[in-house]
Amino acid sequence: MATDNDLHELASLYVIGALPRADREAFEAHLATCAQCQQDVRTLSPVGEALAYAAPDVEPPADLRQRVLASVGATSSARGRARATAAARTTSPLWSMSGLSGLATAASLLLAVVLGGYAVQLRGRVASLEGRLAQALARVDASERLVAEARRAVSDAQVSLVVLTAPDMARVELAGQAVAPRAAGRAFWSRSRGLVFTASNLPALPAGRTYQLWVVTAQAPVSAGLLKPDPNGAVNVIFTTPSDLQRPTAMAVTIEPDGGVPAPTGAMYLVGAIAGL
């Protein structure tokens, strides 16, 4: 049995219909006497309504209108038509032929018609089942992609947390350079746990080019990985770095040919020094 405290949490789930039946009934009983939950339901209901409108906007097919309007009030006449067809079938002219051979001919003719019809029907069913199978597979794909995306987000969030709480965490602010004065970046690096990098306002990339992040050591810049900003120029990524990495002094972002390069060749977009390491 859920306690009152649990029940208070359920208003948002209730409003969007995400409660299993038993929980829903328990919540409704609770709702009748709980002013707080009534208030929650009142203020959250419009969100439920908004979600209904938030589905991608698609025009229904033009002929649907006629079908919908025709179907309303046409139910009784459709039933009448079905009865008339059944009556016609029982008085089929084939059975009114006289004589044994006539009957045999009629029977084989009927069989041929029935079998032919059956074959057509089977073909239709196979095609329709194939179509539904393809749809079902597409749905499985889509939902697996959603779950994979969620798992990746969880694991990214966990790695970020681990990096941010590492005892040897170093924070680096990267400033936009002449080619991108509005760009800015920030990195959190832990030798033992990895590198979390975020940036904003990176200019859109020309075709065939990528941004590359470098950890600059006294010896040489070491590539941390490639960056693909979203349409707003934002990047949010997690990299692992080799644990035997030389003591780094700075981080930088350059523009490079697609696929990246072993050592930086292009213009520098962001750069920042690592302090205190």
Binding site: E9, L10, S12, L13, Y14, V15, I16, G17, A18, L19, P20, R21, D23, R24, E28, L31, A32, Q38, V41, R42, T43, L44, S45, P46, V47, G48, E49, A50, L51, A52, Y53, A54, A55, P56, D57, V58, E59, P60, P61, L64, R65, R67, V68, L69, S71, V72, G73, A136, A138, R139, A142, S143, L146, V147, E149, A150, R151, A153, V154, A157
Partner: protein, 200 residues
């Protein structure tokens, strides 16, 4: 709530509010058997109903079935509709979602633990909502706010609303604690509510 909408309409009648007021009058004509009224309602609301069903079922033929079912139910039950409980549009969309989710669940062959809207026939949340959607801009804001939610909040909310999964099923599917799933849905709803409140 109907009163609030009417007041909002008087103050700044957006095309949206005009349409929702017109829906109300149209439904009254449907209740008295006027076929033309059904055509008018179809022209104003078939698009959002179809879009929602298509988003949930991802199959045009199934989405068309839902549109057909929703409008014939609206025709049959026009006389039982209670304007105090919400707009006609909200009613039809509630019907569409609940029928689409039922169909989705029977496809998954687990129709028993259906978590449809509180009442699939009549829009009855027991209490009226404070604030109705009052403009097309608000819808655009919510759509944008949904896109901008942190990935996990958005995914959890979409699984609940568009896939019809219960929070228990979501927790199983994402291998996340139940409390975390509840919290994420709640946070997502709060953010969407704020985006709604910020734009009239």
């Amino acid at each position: 709530m109907w009163f609030l909408l009417t007041v909002a309409g008087r103050v700044a009648r957006s095309a949206w509010v005009e349409d929702r007021l017109a829906d109300h009058a149209t439904l009254a004509r449907m209740a008295s058997g006027d076929h033309d009224a059904l055509a008018e309602l179809y022209d104003r609301l078939a698009r959002p109903v179809y879009s929602l069903a298509l988003r949930i079922l991802r199959d045009p033929a199934d989405a068309e079935d839902i549109v057909q079912e929703v409008f014939s139910q609206a025709w049959r039950q026009a006389g039982r509709y209670d304007a105090r409980r919400g707009t006609v549009a909200a009613w039809l969309l509630t019907l569409a979602r609940s029928r689409a989710i039922d169909r989705l669940r029977s496809r998954r062959a687990r129709p028993d633990d259906v978590a449809a809207e509180p009442d699939p026939n009549i829009p009855d949340r027991g209490i009226a909502a404070d604030l109705q959607i009052q403009s097309a801009q608000q819808v655009a804001r919510v759509r944008a706010a949904l896109e901008e939610l942190p990935a996990l909040q958005r995914i959890v909310l979409e699984l609940a609303y568009y896939e019809g999964l219960t929070h228990v099923e979501i927790a199983e599917r994402l291998e996340q604690p139940l409390g975390t799933v509840k919290t994420r849905i709640r946070q997502a709803m709060m953010r969407l509510r704020d985006s709604l409140a910020g734009a009239v």
